[in-house]
Structure formats: C-alpha cells, structure tokens
Symmetry: C2
Amino acid sequence: MAKKSYPLSKVYGLLEPGPVVLVSTAGGDRPDIMTLSWHTMIEFEPPLVGCVVSNRNHSFDLLRASGECVINIPTLDIAEQVVGCGNSSGADIDKFERFGLTPKPAKYVAAPLIEECYANLECRVADTTLVTPYCLFVLEVVQAWIDPAMKAPRTLHHLGHGNFMVAGERIKLKSKMK
Amino acid sequence: MAKKSYPLSKVYGLLEPGPVVLVSTAGGDRPDIMTLSWHTMIEFEPPLVGCVVSNRNHSFDLLRASGECVINIPTLDIAEQVVGCGNSSGADIDKFERFGLTPKPAKYVAAPLIEECYANLECRVADTTLVTPYCLFVLEVVQAWIDPAMKAPRTLHHLGHGNFMVAGERIKLKSKMK
C-alpha cells in the first residue's frame, strides 16, 4: 500500500463519520495498539481531535508519557484484528506481532503507523486539561497519510458487545456545510 | 411513533457509531435545532457526551444560557431536513416550522424532542471547562427515548461538503468489549 500525504484541512472528513480507530503509541518495552471509538473532531485546521482513552488501558500510560500517538483507521478486512486489539492488553503481549499488523515509521512522532490501515494520522497531545476528570486528550494532527486508491472505505462503527455497523452507501446532498 | 424509555446504560451504543445528530435547544424566541457531527461518548453511566458546538451557531447561545438540550438521532428518511437545519440559522427562522419537524415535550428539560428522530437523549450541561477554548460542552444524558420498532437505523454519517455515508450492514464478532 503506497500511502500519500493528505491535506490537514481534509482530516475532519475521515473522523466525522465516527469510525472505530486503532491508536498506536510508543514507549515502554514495545509499541502498543488500542481500539477506540470515543473520539470527536474539535477543530478543522490545524485538526484537533478529542480522544477518550481509559486509564485502565496500557496505552493510556504510553500516551501520557510520550505525548504522541497515531490514529489509524481500519476497514472491514481487518475486523478480527480490530477486535483482538480491543480484547487484549499491551502490558501482556506485542499486539503488532500477535495480530500480524505491520509497524511503519512515522514522520514526526515515535509511535508507528499501522500499515494495514487505509489512513494514518500522526498526533501530538495538545491539551491535557480534561485528562484527570475524563481521560480526554486533545490531540493535534500534525501529519496525515492516506491510501489514495481507497475511495469508499468500509469502516467499522461500534454498536457495543462485538456488534459493528459497516459503512454503507454514500449519498450527496446539496449543502453549504464544510 | 410510540417511543419508549431506553436504559441509560445502553446510550453509548447509539452514539459510538458516530451518527449525525440534531441538537435541539430552548430559550430565546423559539426552540432551535442544529446539525452536528462533532460528538463523542466520554463515560458509560451516567452517560457523558462531549459535543463541540461552534459559537458561530445560534444554538451555542441557547445551550449556554439554558444549560440543556436534546440530542436527537435522525435517519436517512429525513436527510433533507438534516441538511436544511445545517444550512440555516435559528436566528432567522423557526426550523421546526420550516422543515416540518415536530417538537414534543421532554420529560426533564425545556428543549423539545424531535418526534421524527428514532432516538432522543435529554441532556444537561455537566462541565463547561472546555467551552471557552474549544466550544466543547460535556453533557450528561438524563433520559433517553427510543422507537422500539427501529432495529437497524439507517443513520447518516457526515463526510464533508454534503456527502454522507449511510449505515450499512451489521456484523457480530466475538468480543469482551462493552
């Protein structure tokens, strides 16, 4: 998969539909991956993303210590790995190895890109005000990558207890909204 | 549509997939509606939701003044109204009237439920710490309603510039995740 740099001004369109994402972090003994659905855009450009990372996760410690992560957007073809990453702890296993995912060096952060995801957003922690009360990190996307061949990604959308909605048809309506 | 009370413990499953929502507010001359995709779950129970409401919106003033709103989840059948609400201002028009949407009294808040939406979440503002820097309100869902006949809602997921993904097929994977 040959990824291309993607304009930061377009990043919101990747996260607004609400896909399950894989957050990769570095530090400790090895990089880690966590599965996450609790995210929202906060600003268009530079893109700010709010992510709730439970402090019961090994990734919470890595994210807080390193101040960096990558938000990777997976599709249906790696759904088993997405669930696997959500049901195990990086304190116990190397998730890249266990789930056959490929770490690639990022441009600006130590956390690795997950090659098998169609988009990768390199992030730095921008605001920790709400980390203590809600585990909510404000992240700034500093570099985005996308597989330009992916036109209608079959993203996963979590419904709870292993149930997912898969991205369906696309429609276009007349709108002035960004 | 005869709606039923819905357990607060299950609310996360309605918002995690990332649907476009209609936020209704009360106060001023008339209730207002805004279209919004920038939301995330923050806590399971009581359900806390982070919502970014731009201060360029009329609804921002109503939400801040009243401290209450309803998060209504629309489906494909009212897509035109969803876009209409996003392309107009409640400072100029009565959106319920203009778009043929029906306001129903809520149980705990002054903001009206939108009858045509399959789920309605009555909310109170719980934390305004990040309103000034990011327009991010932390809302607590105090009452949820759902149309029990709606099994696989065709929710809308915004991709930008009038493009939407419509909720597609559902899959079930073995998972210990909530």
